[in-house]
Amino acid sequence: MQQLYQDSMALVRHFGKPSLFITFTANPKWAEIQDELLPGQTAIDRPDLVARVFNLKVRDLLDQLKHKQVFGPWRGWVWTIEYQKRGLPHLHLLLFLKTDVQFLTLVYIDRFISAEIPTEDDFIGQQLRTIIESTMVHTQCVGGNGNALCMKDLNPAVVTTCHKGYPRDILEETTVPENGYPLYRRRNTVRSFIIPVPGSRGTLTAVIDNRKVVPYSPYLSLRYNAHINVDVCGSVQAVKYIHKYIYKGGDRATVSVESEHDEIKRYLHGRYLGPTEAVWRLFEFDMHDEQPPVTHLSLHMPGQQAIYFAGHDDPDHIRDLIEGSITTLMAFFSYNAQHEDGRQFLYYEFPEHFV
């Protein structure tokens, strides 16, 4: 996991900050899942269907981003699939675009990201409104529901506000602070709807308006009818946090420290495994990807490079291996000792120009 994190930071070093941060969660109400359920079943009875449908949707989303270029010309991405302990799979994706300077500016953000309840001007607007109301509203903590996960504090005595910052403030215009996420436009409109307060067993209701909408892309929401959060990456500071977040790795539990260093045991004992993840792995669906690919450059002291050999290898063969071994670092030094044209590049920049 640490290696993945370093790899994606290498992409950031190369490209600068990512353009968009997308989170895509499977929706158990998808028609494709509901249609295939056997009589009397719900989606949780069929982790096989959830995993297969989500995989197909993710593949379509990736195709849309890379080949259909729906947000503009594609440069690269990093993504991972995660299951949480809840079991619904979701995708975290950082997208690098070629057109940050042109598109990710105040003038354009409102054209592809929204944080408002859509208008019902036409058929598309009506469809979109239904989708947004059911998938893109932060409802957990409405009505001050103290049991909501987003309201929990480590210290149970502390009364907190929602960690995610909902309800947000009404805002007439989208603004982009120096360091941080953009604050999207949330105008004070009459558009609102009523939902029952979670945990109140239908006795209480709450009014939902623009202050409770999670930022979304109207295009992706309409296309996938699921919780898809799309955010502009505000600053490089935000990126580090996101990378940590997307690479926090397989679900783990706290484990006791034993004197014995047993990687296998540690892996087994710290593992959480739910049905969707089990199906995902049995079907060998992709777990993560980075493009462009990142290569690891080696780093070592003179004469201490790692070499690989089998225990039963002939000593002469091992000696040949040792003497013949050239690592990327050694090659870097030897090239620069002989040539002058590569000397202005740092080690990590070198392969881009000289491979």
């Binding site: 503009g72 057109t99 592809f112 087994l268």
Partner: protein, 380 residues
Amino acid sequence: MVGQANIPVPTAFIEHRREWTAHKLGHMDLICSACHALHWQAERPQNRTRAKAGTFQACCKHGDVIVERMRALPEPLNTLMTGQDSQSRLFRQHIRRWNTLFAFTSISCNANARTGTTGQGLQLFQIHGAIYHQKGPLVPPGGRDALFSQIYLYNPVEAAQARYARAPTLDVTIIESLTRMLQQVCSYIQLYLTVRERFAQLSEQEPDLRIILNPELSLIVESGADMRRETLPTANEVALILPGEYGRGGFRDIVLAERVNGEVPDNGLTIINSNHASYLPLHYVLLFPYGEPGWHWARTLENQDGNRQNLRMSQRTFFRFRMHTRTDEPATLMRSQRLFQQLVVDAWAACDQNKLNWLRTNQAKLICTMVLLMYCNKAM
């Protein structure tokens, strides 16, 4: 600027909203021409010749995976698994309890606290840490109540009573009818009875005695100080003898009954190896009531193209085959709700543990050594 020069306005921009459409996969109505598994259009292979053949990779590797089909369930289990009446629905809702009641082996794992019926969100079978199947000795030691496989040695009426005693909240008439049904169809019951009979006979003469079910599913009696081996004739379906690939006696054997120095050791529960062909049927009795064997090392792949180097069928491939709904077999597994969740978690945990065991036993091959060269080497 956007829309000017040579950068077209991207599709996700509001200007294009009239062209936006919803993504639809359609119905799962394509049938794999090799194994009859159901697929979506989008799962068709990219390769044109493959696509033309109408076969798929995920279900059966384009026809190279051949696994015996699930048989139709016997009654009354079939009605309970497929029926929409309240009794059947209730049965499926508590299917893990029902299965535990009939299982020959118990499952041991750290189920996540959230698997309980309280709390918000989805209710899932999740494990934390490793997963094991265990079995106890043939006869309950010293006056304890019979558990799991031990109950099968009773006659049907006693067996149903013993089960009812363990789960008084479950419907006693269903317990009775399922017990009767399993006595008729389940080949493992006959096998256990054979073992008990043989064990009783030999106990008189032999102080050291062991009866095992080896991974090829043949019953073997090891007796005497030199552990002479004798294969028991088993005239039932369990003994579809698999080709022997294993050495004599091994860690994968399931020890059914044992006697050391004239005593029956009270060794409590023993762990069943997940590579044993009986791993699945001994626990998931309600899904495999006939005792259909699960995955084992001797399963092989077909080689239609002649390109395969390795003809072993992996555990993962086997489970993936089982995880598809087909037009030519009942969707027994997919109907079993929480038990299905348990099965897929168990399946992947077994694959994963297998892989880890390989790593554990092959450390010597994997050790990579950092080499210190005392003198500056030539490459620099």
